[in-house]
Point group: none
Amino acid sequence: MPSDESLLRSISTTETEGSSVTGRSIKKSSHPKNDLDQSVWKIASIFLFCALGWALSIIVLVLLHKDPCPNTPISPKNEEDVTNEPKIFVITPTYARPERMADLTMLAQVLMHVKNLHWLVVEDGGRIAEPVARLLQRSNIEHTYFSAVTPDYLPKRGWAQRNAALFHLRDQYINYKDQALVYFADDDNSYDHRVFHEYIRKVKRLGVWAVGLAGTSRVEAPRVENNTVVGWDVYYRPHRKYAVDMAGFAVSLRLVLRSLALFGKECVGHDPEDCFLRQLSVPMNELEPFGCDNDPKDILVWHTKTVVSKMRGETYGYVFEEKNV
Amino acid sequence: MPSDESLLRSISTTETEGSSVTGRSIKKSSHPKNDLDQSVWKIASIFLFCALGWALSIIVLVLLHKDPCPNTPISPKNEEDVTNEPKIFVITPTYARPERMADLTMLAQVLMHVKNLHWLVVEDGGRIAEPVARLLQRSNIEHTYFSAVTPDYLPKRGWAQRNAALFHLRDQYINYKDQALVYFADDDNSYDHRVFHEYIRKVKRLGVWAVGLAGTSRVEAPRVENNTVVGWDVYYRPHRKYAVDMAGFAVSLRLVLRSLALFGKECVGHDPEDCFLRQLSVPMNELEPFGCDNDPKDILVWHTKTVVSKMRGETYGYVFEEKNV
């Protein structure tokens, strides 16, 4: 490849000497200075042309590298690259009922928007359900699906299944070194995917946030002063130590592995969230509140429930689950 | 810009005459033929360099245009490249109530999995709601959001809002030449994204499929023999001509534009789906059934409803909608 200087000189030499083989391709000039100027412009044009192509390449490549899918509507913008960010373990107790596949399908489609997530789905009963297994498989979400029977001394409200998932984490991830989070997500709640990106993924030890439609309350939220949780803005049992809904907190995997916290027999008669969180021994002033300073203060998770009427008619061969009794 | 030929000749002239201003930049050759060859190689190199830059630009731009994010894991696999496939217009009537943001958020997150979709959200009332406008904006879903007041002679069940969306389509898309589909998706139902990819997008004129939990029925489905709809497998009013739930059919935009079908005054006292579809004049044996031959026969859409208890307590400054009265 000739250097810029040598090329420039090679051509300018031609022009200053005013010589030409063809006479057609190079206009013979009566003034060597004009010829030199013309040649310089020609060369400049070539290099401009070259440079433009390369500059365009570089600009496109840089833009591509910066933000590979700036306008991809299905990729939440804050989830561009989270492969090195904390893994989120989502624990979902579930049981067969007519609206279960509808609920689980909707939840799966939210979780499909969240990268680096492991979904622990625990069936209440002696065995797993084929429709749920197929749903998990086609969702492409990293998952573990197993079943746990609720013992007589615990209420049938997902306690035994959450405990089974906690045992699984303590058994399978005991040597997990990286930061990871644990979140309890019931299958009938409603989740904004931002609760995973903007809250859960950023928790260091124990994070808390507002929940909408919690029971019969409009909103339940941590009360925050100077970025410190000083109490709870709740209607129902305001004097609980941790007056937070199951969907309103996430805890670091490290804290789970270091504790023996469970939804156990000693929690019967108490609120399960309060009972579980007390076992983690995190002082109130070390709780991490989220979303309290946002403007507007959006709720990112709702404690909803799907209506179940008495179901009539056939199922005509379609996949349909009856309620476990 | 000098032509390729003139540039080539200009430089080759220099070399063949063996002259140089500096003697450093151009090697004096003892053989004019060799000098010519060398110059040709130099010129070829310049053009190769230019061409490489531009080629790289074009390749990157073409790849970017073809499939900007081939490995986005949250993209359902069957939605890889649908830019040339029929557009889906989804019509959602909505109104303010405590559970509305939860419902709309969950629906938005399903629709975020579907490309080439336009969401028409129509508020029941005199004005649009800021939280919904923000939700639509951040979803990155192509959408139109407006309001329509329900007149006294129509029930407050989304009829006037669906009509307003149909008027909008007939007004704004009257010259739309490509195949497109229209689907009525209420905000409290549950949708598997496959209903969009595997059913709606493939409809030619009027497609029908099973709906779970339709009212108090377990399942409502078209009865199909030899791939032809011959009746309806339903518990409720089996003698309707079109015994199909609002979530159980999609119709081509062309058919909508060619008809004046509405949920109008004449539908009062009748089932809205049956009344609307009768106005499209599609013979029963030309209906297109979906999902009837699948094994297993999964339901891809459920007519669900979120429970609304009497809500108590404050909202503590969080975004919360009360029910419109």
